[in-house]
Symmetry: C2
Subunit: 264 residues, 2 copies
């Protein structure tokens, strides 16, 4: 057991809830057409307004969404290399996906480009960044200060994307006070107050599977909205809590399957 | 640069190639029907023989394959808990997938069970283990002895599945000789001979993206068959080399997207 079960004992200050945001940003496609990307629902929807009337409302599939981080990565590298414009054909060659796939994906968001001119790299990078929510700041804690927890804490790249590493917790007293990027490992008993006082929205779980389900339930109770789960177990949390699983064993087994199925 | 480009200088002993294996195991469904799972091709195929004649040959989709590790994980837990039989309905409730999905998935491999009796947990666990290639032993090295490399090296569970941790390499001289689970960190210059002399088939890349593409190409040249890639870059390797990417940033961005799209 990591924590006491006494959920009602709260000695820390309660924070005001942040204002609710429904419509998050607007795309100006041309002087007549606007796309509004609504993030209030689980699936991204794009509305087209012409003269104040909604002409179209479509949902973006999770398949498209799962491809966005890769586009974002390639565009970031192009941007760093000083590339200003790129055609879907050039991007296709670079990323080894069809140009048609790229155009279809981007058409979900109004196309992002002008026929014959290619895409403006900086603009496209910035728009995908907004769609992924990377224009916002997230406050992140890590539960479990073992090798993996420390590796993630040290991965500076996350900070560049707006994921601020605020705290790290462990149940092992030998680790209390140990500094990881100037942040001290704290005992699990501090978790509840810390989450509430620092508006923590994302928890990274790098603890063994035996404690993970229980800790996840408590994190939700304390107000966490998303869990990046490295524990090798499926968590049991309400539907409005976002969970992204990184089951490393499953990934290695897939590799093993493909390795064995490819024996010649 | 991690290594010299001189691919031709090989001072280490060459090993004989292992015999080629095409048909890997047989399923006895009943006294008349056998399923042969062939692993020679990239996609798993099941052949049904009745009286020596192939009646059916079907390919197993990657979607089914990607669900197998999760079945394997749940069955392993049931086995550890001493459960001998489970119905598709009970498994459905436990895993939160439909019983119909479970039956469809298992039917790809001949069903694994008898109507009305449920599945034999031990048998099902063992069969899925074979399909995933976990009945074999793999020899694995880690390139990059930073926090993530050390975390993976220390993850004992992989050994239980037949993934033997044989060596760890880094380009930082300060780490040479440091012991991780009794295995010393070696310089990158030792890589070629080590891979060849120890029949290494899987390399885990936990180095920064700048060196990863180059190192991957060399690993393939040395004889590596599969790469578990944690470097945040797409590798450029031949089609017969299996790559499983764990792009942690992409995973965090997906979490961020879902968190923001769920704002109320």
């Amino acid at each position: 057991m990591f924590l006491t079960n006494n959920y009602n004992v709260t000695k820390c200050k309660e924070k005001q809830a942040t204002p609710k945001a429904a419509f998050v940003f607007l795309h100006l496609v041309n002087e007549k057409t606007f796309y509004v990307v609504e993030r209030r629902v689980a699936k991204l929807r794009v509305f087209e307004f012409i003269g104040g009337t909604i002409l179209e409302a479509k949902e973006i599939s999770q398949a498209v969404i799962s491809r966005l981080p890769r586009y974002f990565r390639y565009l970031g590298e192009l941007k760093d290399d000083g590339v200003e414009r790129i055609s879907s054909q050039e991007l296709s060659t670079l990323m080894k996906v069809t140009a048609s796939q790229i155009r279809q994906d981007f058409n979900n968001f109004g196309g992002f480009g002008q026929q014959g001119y290619g895409y403006n790299v900086e603009y496209l990078y910035s728009e995908i960044s907004k769609i992924l929510g990377l224009d916002k700041t997230h406050h992140l804690i890590i539960i479990g200060a073992g090798n993996l927890g420390q590796a993630l804490a040290n991965y500076m790249n996350f900070e560049r994307r707006g994921f601020l590493f605020e705290g790290i917790f462990d149940q092992n007293p030998a680790l209390y006070g140990k500094k990881i990027r100037d942040i001290e490992v704290q005992p699990m008993e501090n978790l509840e107050c810390f989450v509430k006082e620092n508006s923590i929205d994302i928890a990274v779980l790098t603890i063994p599977k035996t404690g993970a389900v229980n800790v996840a339930e408590k994190l939700v109770h304390y107000g966490i909205k998303a869990i990046w789960n490295f524990a090798h177990v499926d968590l049991n949390v309400p539907d409005d809590i976002q969970v992204e699983n990184v089951h490393l064993s499953d990934s290695l087994m897939k590799l093993s399957y493909n390795l064995n199925s490819n024996l010649k």
